[in-house]
Amino acid sequence: MKLSLGPITYFWTKDKTLEFYEQVAKSPVDIVYLGETICSKRAVIRFSDWMDIGERLAAAGKEVVMSTMTLLEAESELKMMRRICENDRFLVEANDVGAIQLMKGKPFVTGPSVNVYNQRTLAKLAKVGLCRWVFPVELSQDTFADMQDERPEGVESEIFAYGRLPLAYSARCFTARAHNLPKDDCDYKCGEFPDGMTLSAQDETRFLSLNGIQTQSAHTFNVLSELDELRSLGVDILRISPQAEHTLEVIEAFHNCMQGKEEAEEAAARLNKLMPIGPCDGYWHGKPGIADSVLDNYK
């Protein structure tokens, strides 16, 4: 089983991003997904910069994958997607069906926002070049097991194993809205919230995290404690989604558990304390996403 690091979903400064990937290069992660997947306005890191970061990570022995945008509306966004899909250096993660079209049969990965909910979809995509898929975050381990049974040859399975869950995308920017700003004149407010802005329900349940046009869970999904089960299900890759703080410690914890150097349940409990709000794992157990099996907190 390998360990991957998903794309950074937040708007960090260029310096923070470069420094982050310097650390990642030295970390025990096997695969690194790179690129802006949320908002095309966050263009402080250009395509050539991403390719340079990719080269440095590749030199450090990492497998590099370039990720495409999730919600594409403008022609300029399609243009960037074409550049990524035409890059002949690194594998591509398609986060929209448009990118699958552009891959024209070359190998690609589907990210969590491409709906691969059943074996027939998996088989069809394998015919047009799918070499790895990320299991959709709202589905359960039972569905995963069923799909593993009929997985086409040569297709690897990746699970979103740790991070705030990607839940929705909009044309509207909610970070700008919370600041009474229009999206066209957003002042790059999301840059001030490197883990997103927490949204609470009226009973003070910390519920969601607003990340520009994306809505994430406030709670951090974590299935590290299920490591044995994940192994027996034949998961090939576990994905960690970056947070502003402690991501390297999270990678370390997963790596140690995978190497048998630490007990998964103990490590998972330790990680719970590093999360911005707290843990959740409901989706994996066929429950509401916000539920957590250990805390047993679902109302």
């Binding site: 999730t70 919600l71 594409l72 509306e73 022609e75 966004e77 399609l78 997607m81 929209d96 069906v97 448009g98 990118a99 079209q101 552009l102 709906n115 691969v116 909910y117 059943n118 074996q119 027939r120 979809t121 088989a123 069809k124 995509l125 047009v128 975050v137 709202e138 589905l139 569905t143 069923d146 009929e150 869950l165 839940l167 929705a168 909009s170 044309a171 509207r172 909610f174 919370a178 999206k183 066209d184 802005m197 927490t198 949204l199 609470s200 329900a201 009226q202 349940t205 519920f207 969601l208 607003l210 809505t215 869970s217 409901g282 989706y283 429950k287 509401p288 996403g289 916000i290 109302k299």
Partner: protein
């Protein structure tokens, strides 16, 4: 432009056809469609009757089969495709790649539309569905501005249908998991946003409290209008303020834009609301029929009549309407 109207049951289907719908869309009584609510939708017998009723009066009938099957339920979707083909539907509106793949291989003559749940916001995605499954139409998500819709039309190999009126999804359809995050069930997996079994209403001193999956998402004071509780239209606390952090409880109305939509080459306008009553379907269909006819006749001088807007306002969710994303400042 074709007027495509919702039919949650046979009386609604008849109301739509009788009041000028060019096409009606409906679903079977299960989770194979995105309006899976108790008491709604069609048994196979009623469905056959409905298709016949529409065809006898020159209207087309579309079947919404627009949720995402998982392996243990696959057979239900496959059966629904087979039944739709056998019943003589004029098009199947599907979203899932597996369902489309099955439909185009098993029933090569079956006309396929990509549902809004298929989440195709750009022409490259549309080309994928066209080249792989031969779809002939796409319903585009309600996140695009009018210039963006025009750009899609210019580059799309198939005709484009847009939402004209009804409930407004703020999030791009087919990729919104907010409902399942709170309740375990989403439009993708279950065919409903905020499934009724997860909604709880409670009268308190503060007003009417609404919980979804046990989470308090709204408190409505006496005299305020309480709409159907969806997460995206509730009030939350962000940065110390409590407000509609995602969207106000408004609904979409693009009638004023009809001449522009027509000029852009839009093939069809869709009315949302299979979960609404036959009276809603009748009123909305009648008004939109009149508007489309007036616009086709004289687009230059088209202006929605005040009585049409008044009629529509009566049935709008939250009693406010918006152009939504079609109007750029909304974004």
């Amino acid at each position: 432009m074709e007027l495509v109207c919702p039919a949650g049951n046979l009386p609604s289907l008849k109301a739509a056809v009788d009041n000028g719908a060019n096409a009606v869309y409906c679903g079977f009584r299960d989770d194979t469609n995105a309006r899976h609510f108790a008491g709604l939708n069609f048994s196979p017998e009623k469905m056959a009757e409905g298709v016949q009723y529409a065809h006898d009066r020159g209207a087309r009938a579309f079947l919404a089969l627009n949720t995402f099957p998982q392996p243990d339920g696959w057979g239900r979707w496959q059966n629904a495709v087979d039944r739709a083909a056998e019943m003589g539907f004029d098009a199947l509106i599907a979203a899932d790649i597996g369902v489309l793949d099955y439909a185009c291989n098993r029933w090569p003559d079956l006309n396929l539309h990509l549902s809004v749940q298929g989440s195709a916001t750009n022409y490259e995605a549309i080309r994928f569905f066209h080249e792989n499954f031969g779809i002939t139409r796409v319903v585009v998500p309600r996140v695009l501005s009018l210039p963006q819709v025009k750009h899609v039309v210019e580059n799309s190999p198939v005709s484009i249908e847009v939402f004209g009126f009804g409930s407004l999804c703020v999030m791009v359809e087919g990729r919104c998991l907010l409902s399942s995050y709170a309740t375990g069930e989403s439009p993708n997996t279950f065919g409903a946003c905020s499934p009724a079994s997860a909604v709880e209403w409670r009268e308190t001193d503060k007003g009417l409290e609404t919980r979804l999956g046990g989470i308090l998402i709204e408190t409505v004071e006496k005299g305020e209008n309480a709409g159907y509780p969806t997460i995206c239209k509730a009030r939350f606390e962000v940065g110390g303020n409590t407000f509609h952090a995602i969207e106000e409880p408004t609904s979409l109305n693009t009638m004023e834009m009809l001449p522009e939509l027509q000029k852009a080459g839009i093939a069809a306008v869709k009315i949302e609301g299979r979960q609404r009553s036959p009276v809603y379907v009748k009123q909305v269909t009648r008004v939109w029929r009149a508007a489309l006819d007036a616009c086709a006749k004289d687009p230059e001088n088209f202006k929605p009549k005040s009585e049409w807007l008044a009629e529509l306002a009566k049935v709008s969710e939250g009693s406010q309407t918006t152009f939504g994303a079609y109007h750029r400042p909304w974004q």
